[in-house]
């Protein structure tokens, strides 16, 4: 039993507790803003993919930067080098494309399966995707460099941090766009 509860167990547990707290914050935002957010047609089709996009795009960005840092091909500071610039631009372009794809899928499913015509969901997905990804990319790049400078392996810590913070940023940006559009 002692062998089971080792350092590895503690590392996974602490990461999951952070994810749990962040998830609860997002869930509470969702529950307390039900009228503004969830009653919008197709919003629930959009949300799972929208929340997941952050981890998929920014998680990979952080992982690529970490590899470059360890291989000493990238310096841990924001420089105008082709690798850093290319990574940031690619992540942003991907996030815009995927936001549009998610918006279109949500619109089409809602229209075809439920007969509700609501094209505004595409605009909501696009703007909220752009806002949340700008914040998410800045956070991912800065934190990856910061952790590396402090002697940590960003690979071990960025995954739960990005997915956790990403959930909160995503829900807040969706709420922001829904309120202001």
């Amino acid at each position: 039993m002692g062998l089971l509860f080792d350092k590895e167990f503690d590392e996974i547990l602490s990461g999951q507790i952070i994810a749990l707290i962040a998830g609860l914050i997002s869930g509470v935002f969702l529950a307390f803003q039900t009228d503004k957010l969830l009653l919008i047609p197709a919003m629930l089709i959009l949300i799972p993919g929208f929340l997941e996009m952050r981890g998929n795009i920014e998680g990979s960005l952080s992982s690529r930067l970490s590899s470059g840092l360890f291989l000493k091909l990238i310096k841990p500071k924001l420089e105008n080098t082709e690798i850093i610039k290319g990574n940031i631009i690619a992540s942003f372009v991907l996030s815009i494309i995927i936001s549009l794809v998610l918006g279109y899928i949500a619109f089409i499913i809602e229209y075809v399966a439920l007969g509700i015509f609501y094209p505004k969901i595409i605009v909501i997905a696009l703007i909220a995707g752009a806002i949340s990804n700008i914040i998410g990319i800045i956070f991912s790049v800065s934190l990856t460099f910061y952790l590396f400078k402090k002697g940590h392996d960003p690979n071990n810590m960025m995954g739960p941090s990005i997915t956790s913070l990403g959930d909160i940023i995503s829900i807040l940006s969706l709420m922001f766009v829904v309120v202001f559009i």
Binding site: L4, T34, N56, S60, R64, L71, G86, V93, A106, L114
Partner: protein
Amino acid sequence: MSLNHKLKKLMNVKKRELHPLIKHVHKKHNISKKTLFYVKEYCSNKNVTSVIIRESIKVLILASIISAIGGFRLESLKDKFVLILPILILFPVLNGMIGNYSIIFSSRYSTMIHEGKIVDNPFKCKELRKLLYHLMIIGVFTAVLAGIFSLVFAGLKGFDTSISSTFNVLLITMIDVILVSTVLFLVLSYVGKYIYKKKEDPNNFLIPISTSIADLLNIVTLAALTNLFFF
């Protein structure tokens, strides 16, 4: 040929080619294969953005479609779903948690495959079994915590936290985590082995796809259990 010249040549090698130069430079100049792979993939000025977009776009679109299928299930049950506030609060929590488990499992399992620790039946590997115990114990513990907190927050918003609804929420949370994690780990174990047999790196496929499958399974299971226990 100088090292600089060799590296420049390597940058122009097409993505799918495992160029013999990598082996040659690695042996002659003692530069690790990982570094050379990174140089080949990302160090050519014209390449970085387009390489990343080209390699990621297909799997990201596939992940979006899988997530939207789960979302459609939620949308069709929306009227019922918004009434059970603890489940609504639990939805991003469980999605995130199970997604994290699948990422941990995928990356660790891929490393075990590369290290030759998975030979025939994946579950005969002691290290994998230990990882599964860890994930299951932590999964159930955090699920119960999440269930309790969701009930507290839902209670603050006026949800009736009677004994039966409290019991139902906790039961739904535990069944969801155990069921989804078990199915997910089983599927990923065999898919990972299959991908490795096809001479592909399981890391590149398992991680992005596992979070989408985790999302889909979680949504479908959560919706079915909510329907079963509350309506």
